[in-house]
Symmetry: C2
Subunit: 218 residues, 2 copies
Amino acid sequence: MKGFRPQPARSGADKTLSSKRVYEELRRAILHGEFAPGTSLGETRVGTMLGVSRTPVREAFAELLNQGILAEGARRQVVIADPSPELLAEIVLMRDALEPVLARRAAERMDVSDVDQLRLIMIRARRAADAGDVNAFLDCDDDFHLHIPHALHHHLAADTLRRLLALTRLAVRGTDPSDPLLTRIAAEHETVIEALAAGDPEAAADAMAAHLASSAPR
Amino acid sequence: MKGFRPQPARSGADKTLSSKRVYEELRRAILHGEFAPGTSLGETRVGTMLGVSRTPVREAFAELLNQGILAEGARRQVVIADPSPELLAEIVLMRDALEPVLARRAAERMDVSDVDQLRLIMIRARRAADAGDVNAFLDCDDDFHLHIPHALHHHLAADTLRRLLALTRLAVRGTDPSDPLLTRIAAEHETVIEALAAGDPEAAADAMAAHLASSAPR
DNA sequence: ACACGGCCATATGTATACGAAAGGCGCATT
DNA sequence: AATGCGCCTTTCGTATACATATGGCCGTGT
């Protein structure tokens, strides 16, 4: 688990809340596939690793359990979740229902600077794909999908979508997607961006729906 | 705050986890309007009230904060949230996007016994409306809307909808809806149920969409 | 009388202590 | 040798202790 090493005591000027830091660390590490599936974390173990007590770890666990990133295994132990195909289907249903609507809205209301942001994200995505860094590419994918509700200031939709993306990510964790898939995803994102830039609501919704149908995990 | 009284020590055979119990208690009390808006809870205060220490209260607060039922006020104090009109608009958007889709699915797949469940819920709703018990009626409203994803075993949609309903509830907290509104809501629910019972997907989706458009908080 | 400054009261954030529950392992018995 | 019983280890759930920050309040000086 690279990037997840014991941290001594917490050197001085770290003003960030421990519990939030633990949450972010764990979330990133898990979604980046740095734990083997089914790994049994444990409040004490993780706390020792990160140099904090059980209390903040416990809070982080609670949140990750709520989001379905962790699950309770036997003997109350928390383990890395392993989304079922049924759950995947639920995620697809919700994304199909939400994201085209958001894209339609975005085409109506979105600011040009936000379109620029999306273009920037895709530049990063292309670079990540070229470098073969699948995690970085998927990070960009998340950024792309999340930027749309963010630009609309739809905090709720952004939060919901963030959960859905995390579970999607968990499900494809470990799979090593082919370059063609990444290329196709990027192309579909570009199509969505074009529709948004053109301010064409229906085209944006359709492009997003097509993207979801085309690249949904199965 | 009726129904939210100090509880001595916890009499014997209560096997339920304290933190979960605190969460449920607080959630119910808040959504039933038993706290004045802006009331400053406080871990110690609530803990004393319920006869538990700060630890479980803290967990409950964290969860309620996540759901937007509580919000952080000045000085890191947690207060009862007061959803903004913008947030209400977001909720409406998401419900409009999700619930008709769920209704359509339900018309395709839903079991007859679940339709019976829905009818049962509406019987309770009518009784609550007749008794003038708005909270009980709204509880039935929540049950109705939540039963659809539950019947489909769509845990994610159910969870998301549960959050949306809670915030909706918070927003209308304190308003004393006219009887005609309750009657109309009940009638619209019946229409949805008829479409579900008939197994007519489009009619179900349309009826749900019409219901949301007609009875959305504004 | 008003303004400024320091103390205090109280809240949260984190760490630790304590108790309970649940498997795992070993020993004894048949 | 197999099986059943019981201790033990480990982990969680809760309580409490400690550290830290922040706003209020009071006293004093002008």
